[in-house]
Symmetry: C2
Subunit: 284 residues, 2 copies
Protein backbone atom coordinates (compact mmCIF):
# COMPACT_ATOMS: atom_id res chain seq x y z
CA UNK A 1 0.00 0.00 0.00
CA UNK A 2 1.47 3.33 -1.10
CA UNK A 3 -0.09 6.46 0.38
CA UNK A 4 0.46 10.04 -0.67
CA UNK A 5 0.33 12.87 1.82
CA UNK A 6 0.23 16.60 1.16
CA UNK A 7 0.50 19.35 3.74
CA UNK A 8 -0.38 22.68 2.15
CA UNK A 9 0.95 25.92 3.56
CA UNK A 10 1.28 29.57 2.68
CA UNK A 11 4.95 29.28 1.78
CA UNK A 12 5.36 25.59 0.86
CA UNK A 13 3.60 22.35 0.07
CA UNK A 14 5.15 19.24 1.64
CA UNK A 15 4.48 16.10 -0.36
CA UNK A 16 5.34 12.63 0.82
CA UNK A 17 4.96 8.99 -0.04
CA UNK A 18 4.56 6.51 2.82
CA UNK A 19 3.84 2.87 3.38
CA UNK A 20 0.81 1.77 5.39
CA UNK A 21 2.62 2.27 8.71
CA UNK A 22 3.49 5.90 7.91
CA UNK A 23 7.14 5.25 7.09
CA UNK A 24 8.13 8.04 4.73
CA UNK A 25 9.66 6.59 1.54
CA UNK A 26 9.99 9.85 -0.41
CA UNK A 27 9.43 13.46 0.52
CA UNK A 28 9.73 16.80 -1.26
CA UNK A 29 8.99 20.45 -0.65
CA UNK A 30 7.34 22.57 -3.33
CA UNK A 31 7.11 26.36 -2.98
CA UNK A 32 3.60 27.83 -2.85
CA UNK A 33 3.22 29.84 -6.06
CA UNK A 34 0.06 30.16 -8.15
CA UNK A 35 -2.23 27.12 -7.98
CA UNK A 36 -1.51 25.88 -11.52
CA UNK A 37 2.27 25.88 -11.03
CA UNK A 38 2.26 24.39 -7.55
CA UNK A 39 -0.40 21.75 -8.15
CA UNK A 40 1.36 20.85 -11.41
CA UNK A 41 4.54 20.11 -9.49
CA UNK A 42 2.60 18.14 -6.88
CA UNK A 43 1.11 16.01 -9.67
CA UNK A 44 4.58 15.51 -11.16
CA UNK A 45 5.88 14.23 -7.82
CA UNK A 46 3.09 11.67 -7.50
CA UNK A 47 3.44 10.55 -11.12
CA UNK A 48 7.07 9.72 -10.32
CA UNK A 49 5.98 8.14 -7.02
CA UNK A 50 2.69 6.39 -7.78
CA UNK A 51 0.20 6.09 -4.92
CA UNK A 52 -3.09 4.31 -4.18
CA UNK A 53 -4.71 7.24 -2.35
CA UNK A 54 -3.89 10.75 -1.18
CA UNK A 55 -4.58 12.56 2.08
CA UNK A 56 -4.43 16.35 2.20
CA UNK A 57 -3.83 18.49 5.30
CA UNK A 58 -5.01 21.85 3.98
CA UNK A 59 -4.83 25.41 5.23
CA UNK A 60 -8.27 26.86 5.81
CA UNK A 61 -10.86 27.97 5.39
CA UNK A 62 -11.67 24.95 3.26
CA UNK A 63 -14.76 22.82 2.69
CA UNK A 64 -14.15 19.62 4.67
CA UNK A 65 -17.55 17.98 4.19
CA UNK A 66 -17.31 14.90 1.93
CA UNK A 67 -21.05 15.20 1.09
CA UNK A 68 -20.70 18.81 -0.07
CA UNK A 69 -20.50 19.66 -3.82
CA UNK A 70 -17.60 21.97 -2.87
CA UNK A 71 -15.64 19.37 -0.84
CA UNK A 72 -11.98 20.39 -1.13
CA UNK A 73 -12.60 24.02 -2.09
CA UNK A 74 -10.54 26.72 -0.38
CA UNK A 75 -12.61 29.65 0.92
CA UNK A 76 -11.91 33.32 1.58
CA UNK A 77 -8.18 33.12 2.32
CA UNK A 78 -5.70 36.01 2.33
CA UNK A 79 -3.71 33.88 -0.17
CA UNK A 80 -5.84 35.40 -2.94
CA UNK A 81 -4.66 33.25 -5.85
CA UNK A 82 -5.92 30.20 -3.97
CA UNK A 83 -9.43 31.47 -3.20
CA UNK A 84 -12.09 29.10 -4.50
CA UNK A 85 -9.53 26.60 -5.80
CA UNK A 86 -10.79 23.05 -5.29
CA UNK A 87 -7.72 21.06 -4.26
CA UNK A 88 -9.39 17.69 -4.73
CA UNK A 89 -10.85 18.19 -8.21
CA UNK A 90 -7.74 20.00 -9.48
CA UNK A 91 -5.43 17.22 -8.34
CA UNK A 92 -7.72 14.45 -9.58
CA UNK A 93 -7.44 15.84 -13.13
CA UNK A 94 -3.90 14.44 -13.17
CA UNK A 95 -4.02 11.87 -10.36
CA UNK A 96 -7.04 9.60 -10.69
CA UNK A 97 -6.93 8.22 -7.13
CA UNK A 98 -9.23 8.69 -4.13
CA UNK A 99 -8.41 11.80 -2.09
CA UNK A 100 -9.45 12.69 1.45
CA UNK A 101 -8.95 16.20 2.76
CA UNK A 102 -9.19 17.87 6.15
CA UNK A 103 -7.74 20.99 7.72
CA UNK A 104 -4.03 20.96 8.53
CA UNK A 105 -4.80 21.20 12.25
CA UNK A 106 -7.42 18.43 12.15
CA UNK A 107 -4.96 16.21 10.29
CA UNK A 108 -2.33 16.96 12.94
CA UNK A 109 -4.89 16.22 15.67
CA UNK A 110 -5.63 12.87 14.02
CA UNK A 111 -1.94 11.90 13.91
CA UNK A 112 -1.29 13.06 17.48
CA UNK A 113 -4.38 11.24 18.72
CA UNK A 114 -3.03 8.03 17.20
CA UNK A 115 0.43 8.69 18.66
CA UNK A 116 -0.86 9.42 22.17
CA UNK A 117 -3.59 6.76 22.01
CA UNK A 118 -6.52 9.00 22.92
CA UNK A 119 -9.82 9.75 21.19
CA UNK A 120 -10.16 13.24 22.71
CA UNK A 121 -7.37 15.58 21.71
CA UNK A 122 -6.93 19.15 20.52
CA UNK A 123 -3.99 20.27 18.41
CA UNK A 124 -3.05 23.94 18.56
CA UNK A 125 -0.50 25.51 16.24
CA UNK A 126 0.96 28.93 16.90
CA UNK A 127 2.87 30.29 13.93
CA UNK A 128 2.12 33.10 11.50
CA UNK A 129 -1.52 32.44 12.41
CA UNK A 130 -3.08 30.53 15.25
CA UNK A 131 -5.39 27.59 14.71
CA UNK A 132 -6.60 24.43 16.35
CA UNK A 133 -8.14 21.17 15.30
CA UNK A 134 -9.79 18.58 17.46
CA UNK A 135 -10.83 14.99 17.65
CA UNK A 136 -13.77 14.31 19.96
CA UNK A 137 -14.87 10.81 20.91
CA UNK A 138 -12.80 9.55 17.97
CA UNK A 139 -14.36 11.90 15.39
CA UNK A 140 -12.66 14.86 13.71
CA UNK A 141 -14.72 17.97 14.44
CA UNK A 142 -16.25 19.56 11.35
CA UNK A 143 -19.73 20.80 12.21
CA UNK A 144 -21.16 23.65 10.19
CA UNK A 145 -17.76 24.75 8.77
CA UNK A 146 -14.77 23.63 10.77
CA UNK A 147 -13.37 24.98 14.04
CA UNK A 148 -11.77 28.43 13.86
CA UNK A 149 -10.53 28.54 17.43
CA UNK A 150 -7.88 31.15 16.70
CA UNK A 151 -10.59 33.79 16.81
CA UNK A 152 -12.08 33.18 20.25
CA UNK A 153 -12.17 36.18 22.56
CA UNK A 154 -9.61 36.23 25.35
CA UNK A 155 -9.15 38.49 28.34
CA UNK A 156 -6.34 40.97 27.84
CA UNK A 157 -3.45 40.79 30.27
CA UNK A 158 -3.55 44.08 32.22
CA UNK A 159 0.13 44.76 31.50
CA UNK A 160 -0.11 44.20 27.74
CA UNK A 161 -0.37 47.47 25.77
CA UNK A 162 -0.58 45.76 22.33
CA UNK A 163 -3.92 46.56 20.64
CA UNK A 164 -4.07 43.30 18.67
CA UNK A 165 -3.64 42.69 14.95
CA UNK A 166 -6.63 40.62 13.78
CA UNK A 167 -8.32 42.51 10.92
CA UNK A 168 -11.72 41.18 12.08
CA UNK A 169 -11.54 41.24 15.88
CA UNK A 170 -8.35 43.20 16.75
CA UNK A 171 -7.59 41.54 20.11
CA UNK A 172 -8.99 38.02 19.69
CA UNK A 173 -6.62 35.13 20.48
CA UNK A 174 -4.93 35.15 17.08
CA UNK A 175 -4.74 38.94 17.15
CA UNK A 176 -2.89 38.83 20.48
CA UNK A 177 -0.94 35.55 20.49
CA UNK A 178 0.02 34.51 16.94
CA UNK A 179 3.63 34.80 15.79
CA UNK A 180 2.50 37.82 13.77
CA UNK A 181 1.14 39.45 16.94
CA UNK A 182 4.34 38.69 18.79
CA UNK A 183 6.42 40.32 16.06
CA UNK A 184 4.11 43.36 15.90
CA UNK A 185 4.26 43.74 19.71
CA UNK A 186 8.03 43.37 20.14
CA UNK A 187 9.56 44.01 16.73
CA UNK A 188 11.17 40.57 16.99
CA UNK A 189 10.19 37.07 16.04
CA UNK A 190 9.70 34.58 18.84
CA UNK A 191 13.03 32.87 18.18
CA UNK A 192 14.92 36.14 18.77
CA UNK A 193 13.05 37.06 21.94
CA UNK A 194 14.80 36.22 25.26
CA UNK A 195 13.01 34.02 27.79
CA UNK A 196 12.65 36.90 30.29
CA UNK A 197 10.79 39.21 27.88
CA UNK A 198 7.34 40.15 29.23
CA UNK A 199 5.85 39.15 25.88
CA UNK A 200 6.18 35.50 26.95
CA UNK A 201 4.07 36.18 30.04
CA UNK A 202 1.27 37.55 27.86
CA UNK A 203 1.69 34.72 25.36
CA UNK A 204 1.44 32.07 28.08
CA UNK A 205 -1.58 33.82 29.59
CA UNK A 206 -3.48 33.84 26.30
CA UNK A 207 -2.57 30.28 25.35
CA UNK A 208 -3.43 29.19 28.91
CA UNK A 209 -6.88 30.70 28.38
CA UNK A 210 -7.26 28.65 25.20
CA UNK A 211 -6.23 25.48 27.04
CA UNK A 212 -8.80 26.18 29.78
CA UNK A 213 -11.54 26.84 27.23
CA UNK A 214 -10.67 23.55 25.51
CA UNK A 215 -10.78 21.69 28.83
CA UNK A 216 -14.16 23.21 29.72
CA UNK A 217 -15.68 22.85 26.25
CA UNK A 218 -14.25 19.64 24.74
CA UNK A 219 -12.87 18.11 27.94
CA UNK A 220 -9.82 17.13 25.88
CA UNK A 221 -7.56 14.44 27.35
CA UNK A 222 -4.57 15.94 25.56
CA UNK A 223 -4.01 19.49 24.38
CA UNK A 224 -1.02 19.68 22.05
CA UNK A 225 0.82 22.94 21.37
CA UNK A 226 2.97 23.04 18.24
CA UNK A 227 4.15 25.58 15.68
CA UNK A 228 7.03 28.03 15.39
CA UNK A 229 6.28 30.06 18.52
CA UNK A 230 6.54 26.91 20.67
CA UNK A 231 10.10 26.11 19.51
CA UNK A 232 11.72 26.88 22.87
CA UNK A 233 11.93 25.25 26.29
CA UNK A 234 10.13 27.80 28.42
CA UNK A 235 6.74 28.56 26.87
CA UNK A 236 4.96 25.23 27.40
CA UNK A 237 5.59 25.08 31.20
CA UNK A 238 4.44 28.72 31.44
CA UNK A 239 1.18 27.82 29.65
CA UNK A 240 0.62 24.96 32.10
CA UNK A 241 1.11 27.29 35.06
CA UNK A 242 -1.26 29.92 33.68
CA UNK A 243 -3.93 27.31 32.90
CA UNK A 244 -3.69 25.90 36.43
CA UNK A 245 -4.06 29.36 37.96
CA UNK A 246 -7.04 30.17 35.75
CA UNK A 247 -8.83 26.86 36.46
CA UNK A 248 -8.34 27.40 40.21
CA UNK A 249 -8.89 23.72 41.04
CA UNK A 250 -12.44 23.81 39.75
CA UNK A 251 -12.20 20.61 37.70
CA UNK A 252 -11.40 17.37 39.53
CA UNK A 253 -9.01 16.26 36.83
CA UNK A 254 -7.77 12.66 36.95
CA UNK A 255 -4.30 13.85 35.93
CA UNK A 256 -2.31 17.05 36.32
CA UNK A 257 -2.72 19.85 33.76
CA UNK A 258 0.97 19.35 32.98
CA UNK A 259 0.18 15.90 31.59
CA UNK A 260 -2.75 17.17 29.54
CA UNK A 261 -0.92 20.09 27.91
CA UNK A 262 1.85 18.48 25.88
CA UNK A 263 4.30 18.83 23.03
CA UNK A 264 3.55 17.12 19.72
CA UNK A 265 4.62 13.47 19.90
CA UNK A 266 5.49 13.72 16.23
CA UNK A 267 7.48 16.95 16.42
CA UNK A 268 6.95 18.94 13.23
CA UNK A 269 5.62 15.89 11.35
CA UNK A 270 2.07 15.85 12.77
CA UNK A 271 0.44 17.45 9.71
CA UNK A 272 2.09 15.23 7.12
CA UNK A 273 1.56 12.09 9.22
CA UNK A 274 -2.10 13.10 9.57
CA UNK A 275 -2.34 13.44 5.80
CA UNK A 276 -1.05 9.86 5.47
CA UNK A 277 -3.70 8.67 7.94
CA UNK A 278 -6.42 10.46 5.96
CA UNK A 279 -5.18 8.83 2.75
CA UNK A 280 -4.86 5.41 4.37
CA UNK A 281 -8.45 5.54 5.64
CA UNK A 282 -9.62 5.48 1.99
CA UNK A 283 -8.12 2.10 1.23
CA UNK A 284 -8.82 0.26 4.44
CA UNK B 1 -40.94 -1.46 24.62
CA UNK B 2 -41.32 0.52 27.86
CA UNK B 3 -38.59 3.00 28.67
CA UNK B 4 -37.99 4.83 31.92
CA UNK B 5 -36.55 8.33 32.00
CA UNK B 6 -35.25 10.27 35.00
CA UNK B 7 -34.18 13.90 35.00
CA UNK B 8 -32.43 14.68 38.28
CA UNK B 9 -32.36 18.23 39.63
CA UNK B 10 -31.51 20.12 42.78
CA UNK B 11 -35.17 20.60 43.74
CA UNK B 12 -36.93 17.73 41.99
CA UNK B 13 -36.54 14.47 40.13
CA UNK B 14 -38.83 14.02 37.12
CA UNK B 15 -39.59 10.39 36.35
CA UNK B 16 -41.42 9.22 33.28
CA UNK B 17 -42.46 6.14 31.40
CA UNK B 18 -42.53 6.31 27.60
CA UNK B 19 -43.05 4.04 24.65
CA UNK B 20 -40.32 3.63 22.02
CA UNK B 21 -41.35 6.82 20.21
CA UNK B 22 -41.03 8.95 23.34
CA UNK B 23 -44.77 9.25 24.02
CA UNK B 24 -45.06 9.81 27.74
CA UNK B 25 -47.42 7.26 29.29
CA UNK B 26 -46.87 8.19 32.94
CA UNK B 27 -44.96 10.98 34.64
CA UNK B 28 -44.35 12.06 38.21
CA UNK B 29 -42.31 14.60 40.12
CA UNK B 30 -40.42 13.62 43.28
CA UNK B 31 -38.85 16.25 45.54
CA UNK B 32 -35.07 16.08 45.94
CA UNK B 33 -34.45 15.10 49.56
CA UNK B 34 -31.73 12.80 50.85
CA UNK B 35 -30.61 10.13 48.35
CA UNK B 36 -32.22 7.20 50.21
CA UNK B 37 -35.66 8.84 50.37
CA UNK B 38 -35.68 10.22 46.84
CA UNK B 39 -34.19 7.16 45.13
CA UNK B 40 -36.61 4.98 47.13
CA UNK B 41 -39.55 6.91 45.68
CA UNK B 42 -38.05 6.69 42.20
CA UNK B 43 -37.81 2.92 42.57
CA UNK B 44 -41.42 2.80 43.82
CA UNK B 45 -42.58 4.65 40.71
CA UNK B 46 -40.85 2.23 38.37
CA UNK B 47 -42.06 -0.82 40.28
CA UNK B 48 -45.60 0.44 39.66
CA UNK B 49 -44.68 1.24 36.05
CA UNK B 50 -42.33 -1.55 34.95
CA UNK B 51 -39.73 -0.69 32.32
CA UNK B 52 -37.20 -2.50 30.12
CA UNK B 53 -34.43 0.09 30.53
CA UNK B 54 -33.80 3.47 32.16
CA UNK B 55 -32.06 6.59 30.92
CA UNK B 56 -30.88 9.20 33.42
CA UNK B 57 -30.26 12.88 32.68
CA UNK B 58 -28.17 13.78 35.74
CA UNK B 59 -26.93 17.01 37.26
CA UNK B 60 -23.14 17.16 37.31
CA UNK B 61 -20.43 16.70 38.01
CA UNK B 62 -21.02 13.01 37.40
CA UNK B 63 -18.97 10.14 35.95
CA UNK B 64 -20.37 9.60 32.44
CA UNK B 65 -17.86 7.02 31.22
CA UNK B 66 -19.46 3.58 30.81
CA UNK B 67 -16.02 1.91 31.10
CA UNK B 68 -15.25 3.61 34.42
CA UNK B 69 -15.66 1.73 37.74
CA UNK B 70 -17.43 4.87 39.01
CA UNK B 71 -19.86 5.22 36.07
CA UNK B 72 -22.93 6.95 37.48
CA UNK B 73 -21.24 8.47 40.54
CA UNK B 74 -21.97 12.10 41.40
CA UNK B 75 -18.86 14.17 42.12
CA UNK B 76 -18.12 17.26 44.22
CA UNK B 77 -21.56 18.92 44.08
CA UNK B 78 -22.85 21.68 46.38
CA UNK B 79 -25.80 19.30 47.04
CA UNK B 80 -23.69 17.68 49.76
CA UNK B 81 -25.93 14.73 50.59
CA UNK B 82 -25.56 13.58 46.98
CA UNK B 83 -21.76 13.69 46.81
CA UNK B 84 -20.29 10.35 45.78
CA UNK B 85 -23.73 8.72 45.40
CA UNK B 86 -23.71 6.33 42.46
CA UNK B 87 -27.10 6.78 40.81
CA UNK B 88 -26.79 3.68 38.65
CA UNK B 89 -25.76 1.16 41.29
CA UNK B 90 -28.19 2.58 43.88
CA UNK B 91 -31.15 2.32 41.49
CA UNK B 92 -30.15 -1.10 40.21
CA UNK B 93 -30.43 -2.50 43.76
CA UNK B 94 -34.20 -2.20 43.35
CA UNK B 95 -34.59 -2.03 39.58
CA UNK B 96 -32.61 -4.78 37.85
CA UNK B 97 -32.69 -3.27 34.34
CA UNK B 98 -29.98 -1.74 32.16
CA UNK B 99 -29.37 1.94 32.89
CA UNK B 100 -27.58 4.55 30.78
CA UNK B 101 -26.65 7.89 32.27
CA UNK B 102 -25.37 11.17 30.90
CA UNK B 103 -25.41 14.78 32.07
CA UNK B 104 -28.75 16.61 31.97
CA UNK B 105 -27.41 18.98 29.33
CA UNK B 106 -25.96 16.20 27.18
CA UNK B 107 -29.28 14.35 27.37
CA UNK B 108 -31.08 17.53 26.33
CA UNK B 109 -28.58 18.01 23.48
CA UNK B 110 -29.30 14.45 22.34
CA UNK B 111 -33.05 15.03 22.28
CA UNK B 112 -32.76 18.41 20.56
CA UNK B 113 -30.34 16.99 18.00
CA UNK B 114 -32.93 14.34 17.12
CA UNK B 115 -35.70 16.96 17.00
CA UNK B 116 -33.75 19.34 14.77
CA UNK B 117 -32.17 16.57 12.69
CA UNK B 118 -28.54 17.61 13.14
CA UNK B 119 -25.48 15.80 14.43
CA UNK B 120 -23.72 18.97 15.65
CA UNK B 121 -25.63 20.80 18.34
CA UNK B 122 -24.97 22.48 21.66
CA UNK B 123 -27.61 22.80 24.36
CA UNK B 124 -27.19 25.63 26.87
CA UNK B 125 -29.34 25.95 29.96
CA UNK B 126 -29.40 29.15 32.01
CA UNK B 127 -31.13 28.72 35.35
CA UNK B 128 -29.79 28.62 38.89
CA UNK B 129 -26.52 27.55 37.27
CA UNK B 130 -25.34 27.68 33.70
CA UNK B 131 -24.30 24.60 31.78
CA UNK B 132 -24.03 23.23 28.30
CA UNK B 133 -23.90 19.85 26.63
CA UNK B 134 -22.95 19.04 23.09
CA UNK B 135 -23.21 16.48 20.40
CA UNK B 136 -20.39 16.57 17.85
CA UNK B 137 -20.47 14.54 14.64
CA UNK B 138 -23.24 12.46 16.21
CA UNK B 139 -21.34 11.71 19.44
CA UNK B 140 -22.12 13.10 22.89
CA UNK B 141 -19.03 14.90 24.17
CA UNK B 142 -17.49 13.32 27.27
CA UNK B 143 -13.71 13.51 26.98
CA UNK B 144 -11.68 13.52 30.17
CA UNK B 145 -14.65 14.45 32.44
CA UNK B 146 -17.53 16.11 30.65
CA UNK B 147 -17.89 19.68 29.38
CA UNK B 148 -18.23 22.37 32.06
CA UNK B 149 -18.82 25.27 29.72
CA UNK B 150 -20.46 27.39 32.38
CA UNK B 151 -17.02 28.24 33.71
CA UNK B 152 -15.36 29.65 30.58
CA UNK B 153 -13.91 33.13 30.92
CA UNK B 154 -15.87 35.93 29.29
CA UNK B 155 -15.09 39.59 28.73
CA UNK B 156 -16.90 41.84 31.16
CA UNK B 157 -19.30 44.36 29.69
CA UNK B 158 -17.78 47.79 30.48
CA UNK B 159 -21.08 49.02 31.99
CA UNK B 160 -21.59 46.03 34.30
CA UNK B 161 -20.47 46.75 37.89
CA UNK B 162 -21.35 43.26 39.21
CA UNK B 163 -18.22 41.46 40.50
CA UNK B 164 -19.50 37.97 39.72
CA UNK B 165 -20.63 35.20 42.05
CA UNK B 166 -18.75 32.03 41.08
CA UNK B 167 -16.93 30.73 44.19
CA UNK B 168 -14.07 29.46 41.97
CA UNK B 169 -13.70 32.13 39.29
CA UNK B 170 -15.84 35.11 40.40
CA UNK B 171 -16.65 36.56 36.99
CA UNK B 172 -16.63 33.51 34.71
CA UNK B 173 -19.70 32.98 32.51
CA UNK B 174 -21.75 31.27 35.24
CA UNK B 175 -20.61 33.86 37.77
CA UNK B 176 -21.89 36.69 35.55
CA UNK B 177 -24.83 35.23 33.60
CA UNK B 178 -26.57 32.49 35.62
CA UNK B 179 -29.99 33.15 37.14
CA UNK B 180 -28.18 33.36 40.49
CA UNK B 181 -25.90 36.09 39.10
CA UNK B 182 -28.88 37.95 37.69
CA UNK B 183 -30.62 37.90 41.07
CA UNK B 184 -27.45 38.96 42.91
CA UNK B 185 -26.91 41.82 40.45
CA UNK B 186 -30.48 43.19 40.40
CA UNK B 187 -32.17 41.83 43.51
CA UNK B 188 -34.81 40.31 41.24
CA UNK B 189 -35.26 37.05 39.43
CA UNK B 190 -35.27 37.18 35.64
CA UNK B 191 -39.03 36.77 35.44
CA UNK B 192 -39.58 39.96 37.48
CA UNK B 193 -37.08 42.06 35.56
CA UNK B 194 -38.52 44.33 32.83
CA UNK B 195 -37.26 44.00 29.26
CA UNK B 196 -35.58 47.42 29.34
CA UNK B 197 -33.40 46.68 32.37
CA UNK B 198 -29.68 46.99 31.53
CA UNK B 199 -29.11 43.57 33.08
CA UNK B 200 -30.55 42.02 29.89
CA UNK B 201 -27.91 43.81 27.81
CA UNK B 202 -25.14 42.27 29.92
CA UNK B 203 -26.87 38.88 29.89
CA UNK B 204 -27.17 38.91 26.08
CA UNK B 205 -23.55 40.01 25.74
CA UNK B 206 -22.24 37.15 27.87
CA UNK B 207 -24.46 34.50 26.29
CA UNK B 208 -23.54 35.90 22.87
CA UNK B 209 -19.89 35.31 23.77
CA UNK B 210 -20.71 31.71 24.64
CA UNK B 211 -22.49 31.25 21.31
CA UNK B 212 -19.48 32.66 19.43
CA UNK B 213 -17.08 30.41 21.34
CA UNK B 214 -19.27 27.41 20.50
CA UNK B 215 -19.34 28.39 16.81
CA UNK B 216 -15.56 28.81 16.72
CA UNK B 217 -14.76 25.72 18.78
CA UNK B 218 -17.41 23.10 17.91
CA UNK B 219 -18.77 24.74 14.74
CA UNK B 220 -22.24 23.77 16.02
CA UNK B 221 -25.06 23.81 13.45
CA UNK B 222 -27.57 24.59 16.18
CA UNK B 223 -27.03 26.31 19.52
CA UNK B 224 -30.06 25.91 21.75
CA UNK B 225 -30.72 28.21 24.70
CA UNK B 226 -33.12 26.92 27.33
CA UNK B 227 -33.70 27.24 31.08
CA UNK B 228 -35.56 29.65 33.33
CA UNK B 229 -33.71 32.83 32.35
CA UNK B 230 -34.74 32.32 28.71
CA UNK B 231 -38.48 32.27 29.50
CA UNK B 232 -39.25 35.58 27.82
CA UNK B 233 -39.52 36.89 24.27
CA UNK B 234 -36.66 39.37 24.20
CA UNK B 235 -33.48 37.65 25.35
CA UNK B 236 -32.91 35.20 22.47
CA UNK B 237 -33.00 37.88 19.72
CA UNK B 238 -30.64 40.02 21.82
CA UNK B 239 -28.19 37.10 22.06
CA UNK B 240 -28.32 36.69 18.26
CA UNK B 241 -27.54 40.38 17.75
CA UNK B 242 -24.62 40.34 20.20
CA UNK B 243 -23.17 37.18 18.63
CA UNK B 244 -23.38 38.72 15.16
CA UNK B 245 -21.62 41.89 16.33
CA UNK B 246 -18.89 39.89 18.05
CA UNK B 247 -18.28 37.58 15.05
CA UNK B 248 -18.01 40.62 12.76
CA UNK B 249 -18.66 38.60 9.59
CA UNK B 250 -15.52 36.55 10.10
CA UNK B 251 -17.13 33.18 9.45
CA UNK B 252 -18.75 32.59 6.06
CA UNK B 253 -21.74 30.87 7.61
CA UNK B 254 -24.11 29.03 5.27
CA UNK B 255 -27.07 30.32 7.29
CA UNK B 256 -27.75 33.38 9.46
CA UNK B 257 -26.76 33.33 13.14
CA UNK B 258 -30.47 33.76 13.89
CA UNK B 259 -31.14 30.29 12.46
CA UNK B 260 -28.25 28.71 14.39
CA UNK B 261 -29.17 30.15 17.80
CA UNK B 262 -32.59 28.70 18.57
CA UNK B 263 -35.15 27.84 21.22
CA UNK B 264 -35.51 24.25 22.36
CA UNK B 265 -37.73 22.37 19.90
CA UNK B 266 -38.99 20.35 22.87
CA UNK B 267 -39.68 23.29 25.20
CA UNK B 268 -38.96 22.23 28.76
CA UNK B 269 -39.05 18.51 27.89
CA UNK B 270 -35.57 18.22 26.32
CA UNK B 271 -33.95 16.66 29.39
CA UNK B 272 -36.61 14.01 30.01
CA UNK B 273 -36.90 13.19 26.30
CA UNK B 274 -33.12 12.84 26.20
CA UNK B 275 -33.31 10.44 29.14
CA UNK B 276 -35.79 8.33 27.15
CA UNK B 277 -33.39 8.29 24.17
CA UNK B 278 -30.54 7.18 26.44
CA UNK B 279 -32.72 4.39 27.83
CA UNK B 280 -33.98 3.35 24.42
CA UNK B 281 -30.41 3.05 23.08
CA UNK B 282 -29.87 0.16 25.51
CA UNK B 283 -32.54 -2.05 23.99
CA UNK B 284 -32.07 -1.34 20.32
Amino acid sequence: MRIGGIETGGTKFICGLADETGNVLEQTTIPTEDPETTLGKVADFFRENPIDAIGIAAFGPVDVHPQSPDYGMIGKTPKFAWQYVNLITELQKNLPVPIRLDTDVNAAALAESAAYGTENLAYVTVGTGLGAGAIVEGKLVHGLLHPEMGHIAIRRHPGDPFPGCCPYHADCLEGMASGTAMRARTGKSGKDLPADDDAWIYEADYLGQLAVTLLLTLSSEKIIFGGGVLQNDWLLPMIVEKAETQLNDYLLLPKPVGEIISKPALGTQSGLQGAFLLGRSLIE
